[in-house]
Symmetry: C3
Subunit: 139 residues, 3 copies
């Protein structure tokens, strides 16, 4: 059993972006040379989340609509009074979806469904450079 | 330290089902012969989630109502245009709740509350055969 | 590789409380004498959750408002008919946010953002004594 770290970075677009990182995760598992275990995918920062989805553009639109029900864009956020930020909705969404998820792998491959991709949901208002920490534990 | 895999399968009923899998998870821990560690419970597929709940029928009804607020049944989903599916709400709910959760165990038993069961929430519209991957890491 | 357990306990205030436990988690990592790995933070009980947030009082107010959209205080819950409890909303919120999260650490320190604290969100209606299980796996 051992631990293998890999940080990945990429740019995201403003005000809701969903990025498929499944390829990055599979590459990191291969690089780790571990066969069986789990990979924890954790977003550094408090305005984005990690989950899985059938990654196709229409579903991304549906997810954006759902986020508007949970934390609408057109209401007031107290957080804006703290720093003069405009991303109260982004923080609220990220806390509700959570900062990470953990996925199993076996024989060097993720155990996920055919139509199930691992995605980073970036809720922040400005475009961002995102850093995602992958931590692979296995044997 | 070692890794132990166990896949469990069961049938779910249509359009929102909540299945208590605590017994399956305890059995898998026993079968692993590991004493202390974590078990990752991961649903294969993109229309179901894993969480914990006090498992009783009235609370399942309350959860169903909450899901209608997050991703209602009676609105249009763009996803339906992609494949002709009717489960846009199922995908949205599953991404928000996430595909898995990780629970600790000690001396061969889950460290959970008395009124806290591990459940699979199946959001899909048709009845399904579900596959859940359990990954136990411990010593 | 080894497993280290630490249970932390604290009191929470009634009807929505958010507690920053980042310090507890860092202390437990130090006590474990492990350098690299993951820490699973799991709440024992079914009316609280674990996530991350930029911990500042105004954002806590914004989170409380979002919880009212997901599981309002002023509607009826079937769960109240089961036990005579008044915390149906608390259970629903806890299942949606989930009972735990897993965070990586490296060189003995959490890999989290500067403005990203690990928090317990206690949704229960009465004040509670909370027990949180930390499970550290690493080398």
């Amino acid at each position: 059993m051992s631990v293998f770290f890999k940080e990945i970075q990429f740019d995201t677009s403003q005000d809701f972006d969903v990025v498929d990182i499944t390829g990055y995760v599979n590459n990191a598992i291969e690089e780790s040379e571990l066969s069986n275990g789990i990979v924890n995918i954790f977003v550094i920062g408090s305005t984005a989340s990690v989950s899985t989805v059938e990654f196709e553009p229409n579903l991304v639109i549906d997810l954006k609509s759902a986020m508007e029900r949970i934390a609408p864009s057109d209401i007031e956020y107290k957080h804006h009074l703290t720093w003069g930020d405009a991303n109260g909705k982004s923080h609220v969404r990220a806390t509700i979806l959570g900062p990470g998820t953990t996925v199993p792998f076996k024989a060097g491959r993720l155990i996920t469904g055919t139509w199930q991709q691992i995605v980073v949901l970036d809720f922040d208002v400005p475009a961002r450079k995102r850093r995602i920490q992958l931590t692979i534990i296995g044997e």
